[in-house]
């Protein structure tokens, strides 16, 4: 008997021309202008950010009118990351945070900067630190990170629905 064939290489490559969709495109174009655009659910009026076009709770198309949000918000939860990543150029360890932007009803995943790691906490008020305007693209990465805003902590009741 000859040796069994144990490995067969069959490379697979498919190219896609992806489109984010109407709603996500609107959000990304606004990002390129330094604006944070959410959209309202037509059923209960909750503001989704970022928006993917539909309210996943009601299966309804978001109201088309943009809802401009503040670049300040509240940390509703966080973790401490000690594992390096190609995409995030922050020094380890750093804190991934879930931020509830003022005016939004959904939370945004981002990272915390300019803050000693042992001081991050729930309810912490934060504000976006933007990249230089010349570097803005259609990306949430235009926000480098969130940093403490120095405001007093938000009361638990103000964000407990979003944990």
């Amino acid at each position: 008997m000859s040796e069994p064939v144990e490995i067969l290489k069959t490379p697979v490559k498919l190219d896609y021309t992806y489109s984010a969709g109407q709603s996500a495109s609107r959000f990304l174009r606004a990002m390129a202008e330094g604006k944070l655009i959410g959209q309202r659910c037509p059923v209960d009026g909750r503001v989704y950010f970022p928006t993917r076009g539909s309210c996943p709770q009601h299966g309804a198309l978001m109201r088309p009118e943009p809802v401009e949000l503040s670049d300040r918000g509240t940390v509703v939860t966080f973790s401490i990351n000690r594992v390096p990543s190609e995409n995030i150029k922050l020094d380890l360890p750093y804190a991934p945070v879930q931020v509830l932007l003022d005016g939004a009803d959904t939370i945004l995943m981002h990272v915390l900067g300019e803050c000693p790691i042992d001081q991050v906490h729930m309810g912490m008020r934060v504000q976006a630190v933007w990249k230089p305007k010349s570097e803005w693209t259609t990306s949430i990465g235009n926000i480098k990170y969130f940093k403490p805003s120095g405001e007093p902590d938000a009361p638990f009741d103000s964000y407990k629905e979003h944990i």
């Binding site: 067969l8 069959t10 697979v12 498919l14 190219d15 896609y16 021309t17 992806y18 489109s19 984010a20 969709g21 109407q22 709603s23 996500a24 495109s25 993917r52 076009g53 539909s54 309210c55 996943p56 709770q57 009601h58 299966g59 309804a60 198309l61």
Partner: protein, 351 residues
């Protein structure tokens, strides 16, 4: 067996390219229309099943975001098949047969314009000896068409006639993508795409979605004036290896048609999912349809082929003709896989 009927149907227009809408944005108006037609809220639907393909979306678990079009809160009972929505409908039908549901919603959606569809479909082939050669779907279908012509099963002229018939029928279908009156001689004068297939022999590449509501007897009578009762429903699969199959007939459709009882009564309308003209001819033969059957009044897949929805759409188009009384008995067919590998047959009756 429980009596189950198709009670509502909605579809998007088949478009060569949905420029800026994503799949969920295509789906939402379709599902919204279905809800409106039935008057049902999400909470009144016992089971939801979808058909789509991550290979078309280029994302893993792309079907999960499809649920955003449904509204899955409070949590819903849901399932998915990586197949055309017609098979999702089969799963929903089984669920109702087993008594786990009375009303089920099924949808299929695809946006193949994001990739290269004939190339993507090559991944359905055997991964050891065929996929490494990367034969595109049109070339594979052309080999089958060549076999059929050599064996006298069909001819290029007959194939052109099928294309002309379907696209003429599609003139009455506002959702169709390719429609019009075509002269056979002119079609036959066109160059080959992959001999013996010309462009008109191939279904278009279409983005789109469709959705169907089915219900058990009591609910069906409440939801539709004249429900389209599912009286036969079978799907049969052939081997993956093209070399071991008789590609000049559709044996799996023949068996499915027999089990579904297609020939137990006259067939007024047949909606066939033939991605290529010769395949439509093979299915027509396998179903054993006579001259009194109107084939593809909607135009079929040759007029619009939204991947993962086109089979489900055939069932919806057949049911629609039961509802409006233009047919008493209709047959819908769906296919999946290269060269008609897997086939589904659904018999619908008005009485």
């Amino acid at each position: 067996m429980r009596e189950v009927a198709v009670v509502a149907f909605a579809q998007s227009k088949s478009l060569r390219r949905e420029l800026d809408r994503n799949e969920v944005e295509i789906l939402i108006p379709v599902i919204g229309e279905l809800r409106e037609k039935s008057g049902l809220a999400t909470g009144e639907i016992d089971f939801i099943c979808s058909g789509s393909s991550d290979y078309l979306a280029g994302q893993s678990f792309a079907f999960v975001s499809g649920l955003d079009a449904v509204g899955a809160w409070p949590p819903v009972s849901e399932s998915h098949v990586e197949m055309d929505g017609a098979w999702a409908l089969y799963e929903a039908w089984v669920k109702i047969q087993m008594g786990y549901a009375d009303v089920a919603m099924v949808y299929g959606f695809g946006k193949p314009s994001m990739g290269d569809l004939p190339e993507t479909l090559a991944l359905q082939l055997d991964p050891y000896v065929l996929t490494p050669l990367w034969p595109d779907a049109i070339s594979i279908a052309a080999l089958q068409a060549r076999l059929c012509i050599e064996k006298g099963v069909t001819s290029e002229r007959q194939m052109a006639e099928v294309a002309a018939r379907d696209r003429k029928n599609a003139l009455g279908n506002p959702y169709a993508q390719v429609k019009g009156e075509f002269e056979i001689a002119k079609l036959l004068a066109e160059p080959y795409l992959a001999s013996p297939l010309r462009k008109h022999d191939c279904s278009p590449i279409s983005d789109g979605a469709s959705a169907i509501l089915i219900a058990s007897e009591k609910r069906a009578k409440q939801l539709a004036k004249r429900p389209a009762w599912i009286r036969g429903f079978t799907h049969i699969c052939e081997p993956q290896d093209l070399g071991v199959r008789d590609l000049t007939r559709s044996r799996s459709t023949e068996i499915a048609a027999e089990r579904a009882g297609v020939r137990k009564g006259k067939v007024d309308v047949a909606e066939i999912y033939g991605p290529f003209t010769h395949q439509e001819i093979l299915i027509e033969k396998a179903l054993g349809l006579g001259a009194s059957t109107k084939v593809n009044p909607s135009g079929g897949a040759l007029a619009g082929n939204p991947m993962m929805a086109a089979g489900l759409t055939r069932i919806g188009e057949a049911a629609r003709r039961i509802w409006d009384g233009s047919a008493d008995r209709a047959v819908a067919h769906a296919t999946s896989g290269p060269c008609l590998q897997q086939n589904l047959v659904c018999v619908l009756e008005g009485n």
